[in-house]
Amino acid sequence: MPITTSESNNAESKKPDIKVSGSLVSMDPSKTKADVQNLNFWYGENNAVKNLTIPVADRKVTALIGPSGCGKSTFLRCFNRMHDLYPNTRYEGQIILQPHGLDLLSKAVDPLEVRMRVSMVFQKPNPFPKSIFENVAYGLRIRGVCDKAFIAEKVETALKGAALWEETKNRLQRPAFNLSGGQQQRLCIARALAVEPEIVLFDEPTSALDPIATGKIEDLIDVLKERLTIVIVTHNMQQASRVSDYTAFMYLGQLVEFNETQKMFVSPTNPLTEQYITGSFG
């Protein structure tokens, strides 16, 4: 007991020391897919994301890193208005989707429309209790698509896009639960891809997977970014440096530093960032 108390005391005394470097990237406005501007998010009274401003580059991978509880998932879930599902939550600020300048957080914008354009892949694979085919077709079906040939074509494209086609083409009607964890996660990626989203959000997509399955998903992200924009939360520094083009480091709900991944990992500007990526944090 006494030990933890003294530790938390240390943390408290550190708090005022946070020097926030903010965004160190000056991005050509025509190259952004989304502009996050002064974003604040509240769970009731808890201000979990504080005044965050970053550009999200078009057809690039943006990684969110930071210690547990710093607000990465909370921030990510603002992009598809996931927080709207729960009571007592509040957004402030804007996430402007380019090129048409639509504010995703505006009350006037239907969260369903946002989610149709911004898909999400979760930490734990969550296939539906349906066949492999129906899982991938789900997004089309709920949009009212009935054309069988069209759906079959989209499902095939999505499964190929998620590098799962070869493994599943002969068992499309089998239950998705029979797939391995890594396959299930790629199925969830295929499901997200089938509706041709503009942005795909990944919340620690590989934390439940073994290194080989993780490698496959990282390769996949590399390919996907040629045609869509990706925002990924990860706890794994190697993963962030391998897959991302830009990295945002968050701490206690604040953006400590945002930079090109190369620059941030080679020469972090903020001492806190350096401590975190070298693993000597706290």
């Binding site: 996931m82 599902l85 989610r115 789900y138 239950p175």
Partner: protein, 314 residues
Amino acid sequence: MAIESAEKAGPKRYQRARQGISTRQRVTEGAIEWALFLAGASSIAITVGVLSVLIYESAGFFAHVSVWEFLTGTQWFPQFDPPKFGILPLICGTLVTTAVALSVAIPVGTIIAIYLSEYAPHRLRNILKPVLELLSAVPTVVYGFFALSFVTPFLQLFIPGLPGFNMLGPGLVMGVMIIPYVSSLSEDAMHAVPMTMREGSYGMGATKMQTAWRVVFPSALSGITAAYILGISRALGETMIVALAAGLEPTLTMDPRQPAATITAYIVQVSGGDLPHGSIGYQSIFAAGLVLLLMTLVFNVWGYRLRKRYREIY
């Protein structure tokens, strides 16, 4: 200071605990195991006992009436001379009233479950669920009386020529009685579906309705099937409502507007003293009871297999 004393006290305390396991605890464990075994065994013993009485008494009955005649006869008139023991009218009455009840209880119960689990605010759910469960706490005699003196006259306004005793009224009322069995268990099953499942659906742009029907419902199907089977068993075994309001007239008809008798209603009628003890007519209630038991068993086994299949698939 605090740490030091805790460290000193710690290992000693563990030692004592370990010694405890080897002596007293082992005895208690053994005793508990026996008590649990006896509790489990007694339920089996009671079931076997009931079953053997049923079979024994039915054997007496089948010594006089052939099984073939019993199962295929279309007339059930135990008081006649010669008596007719064809169980089909009773089975028919049982199935029709059950079907009417389920046609109310399953859709309404399922919709209520979806509303409570997916739509209702948490507070409302915590109020509504117990209130709903009160429906099944109403004594069935009250329901039977309600069917006879209120529902049937009300139905007569819309269905000209509906007899005062019919299967429709009591069937509908029975359905209302069963709603909480269906809705409560289904709701439990849907409530237990993890939030990540729903988020997956909402994340694709699905509406609440789509998420509830296409994702939550199939995810909970195993539990929902169990709820339906319980509803079916409850309807098959219901006695009072049909005995009071369906007419006690064994009729071989699929038309719910007609009066009829169910197996349970017949049993209660005869046990009430219509036929002398020891007569064939009296023994017939055991044969009828056996049939009812087998019917319930069939539905339960069927439900069990369905559940297993869904669990395997999903």
